[in-house]
């Protein structure tokens, strides 16, 4: 191999240290189409990142969501690593978050939310249902995604494990119906027994009467 260098073996840049992201990263970026070109792409992503930090749960097309997810992950992990005293980090945060109060939110609310040892993904992405294509909106039939920051205050999107079987509404109704059914069955059985007893008593009386006669 020596003497015939592969161009692919370009060296890694090491001046800035960063931690490994726990979300899948594509080998190449997506071109989000924009008349401004690469600058327009970054501006689109800035808006998405700002929205995610602001609302903590957003629904959008898969393409842009997956692209923006990496940027949010890196922003949070870098903010945790360097803190708010680092000048470069503050510059980066104020570039990506378009409103100034969100920079405070990033360092004071979102970073302390995670334990020091937690390295995992700071966001979750769920597949959302698509719109059914109509003739007018045929272009809208793309994958949709719900992106959220972990530790948000909203109720969970997926049903919790404890509610999975027993407490689902149809299971509760079925249980109640079953209970009623068996109770009714018991009552019926009891009534039948009583009737049998009374019938037998009547028969005896009749027999007695016949004997007397």
């Amino acid at each position: 191999m020596v003497g015939k260098p592969l161009k692919s073996l370009g060296y890694a840049e090491v001046t800035k240290l960063m931690s490994e992201l726990k979300v899948p990263v594509l080998p190449r970026h997506r071109n989000l189409s924009s008349p401004l070109g690469p600058e327009g792409r970054i501006n689109k992503l800035r808006q998405t990142v700002t929205a995610l930090v602001k609302y903590e749960r957003i629904e959008l097309f898969h393409n842009r969501a997956d692209e923006a997810r990496g940027y949010v992950e890196r922003l949070v992990s870098d903010a945790r690593r360097y803190g708010d005293q680092n000048k470069e980090m503050m510059e980066m945060a104020s570039y990506w978050l378009l409103e100034k109060q969100l920079v405070h939110k990033l360092f004071k609310v979102i970073c302390p939310r995670f334990h020091d040892t937690f390295d995992g993904p700071f966001t979750t992405a769920y597949n959302a249902p698509r719109k059914y294509p109509s003739e007018t909106e045929r272009k809208q039939y793309f994958k949709r995604v719900v992106l959220e920051l972990k530790g948000h205050p909203f109720p969970p999107l997926l049903p919790q494990a404890s509610y999975q079987g027993k407490y689902l509404i149809h299971n509760v109704l079925l249980d109640a119906a079953m209970k009623d059914y068996y109770q009714e069955k018991k009552l019926n059985a009891m009534q039948n027994k009583k009737e049998e007893v009374t019938e037998s008593v009547d028969e005896e009386k009749e027999l007695d009467n016949q004997i007397k006669e």
Binding site: M1, V2, G3, P5, L6, K7, S8, L9, G10, Y11, A12, E13, V14, K16, L17, M18, S19, E20, L21, V25, P27, R28, H29, P38, E39, I42, G70, Y71, R74, L75, D78, M92, Y95, W96, D116, T117, D119
Partner: protein, 304 residues
Amino acid sequence: MLRILPKNSNYFVNSQFLFLRHSSSAPAAATNEKNKEIANYADKKRIKKGSKKIPNDFRFKYQDFLPSPTARYRNSLLEKLMRKDMLERRSQVHIPEFYVGSILKVTISDPHSQGKTNSFVGICTQREYTGLCTRITLRNVIDHQGIDVAYDIYDPLIQKIEVLKLEKRLDDRMLYLRDALPEYSTVDVNMEPELLAEGAPVPVNETIVKMKPLPWMQKWERKELKGIENLDQYLNLWRKQQREKQATPWEKYDLMKEYRRTIPEEQQNKIFSEIFDRINKINEEHKIKAKAARRTITKPQNIR
């Protein structure tokens, strides 16, 4: 008995005093240790099993051990075999720490005349590729003629690599020296090595070069270089306009682009902890050899 916790105290640490009523002496030292343990917990968990505490400058010194970040060409087996070969080569030839801008002397055995060697002294202007293919370019002006020589540093032909002056420059690539005035890339061929104290930080040479008039090999004005002084002097209006038009000021904020160009810290630690012991051993061996060589030179024999 009621006891109110002081506001600043860490409840979880101090709570053992409240609940251990019968313990005659609650050791104060133990609590301190526990405090320390809690503080170090994050660090301990970050450093995974089998990895060692690696010095911070290790990634600059041994950058060629890191694989290429291009995802398409990553291959764990190839990388591992390469590292093994590199260590074996390093045990034969001492490859010292150097950076772009340092002055090197490379001695190479001449393939065209048996048993003879060639050597070249120059400024390291760029590093290319990684792993076994790592290549450096040395530049010097000899007899008013600028010369660039490229060496693969893991080439088996190489006999010796010496660092005559260890320093950094303002830029990571200094190919613009080709278009600069010749005085900036001239180095004395018979230069003696300047020694640095061990553990001292690598000095940064902040000389700013002056360029020759046009034509140039590349459009240096578009590369945001720190080490050039008089760029604007030679540019015409059209070229200045183009520089502004082609500028990409948003690129330094592109976090994922940055990420795709590096190897993340966890992977770096994994690689460096693998080679850490071996490379320290190799360096020590080379140091001992160099000392022995020096001793033999300093004792001249008496002539009768």
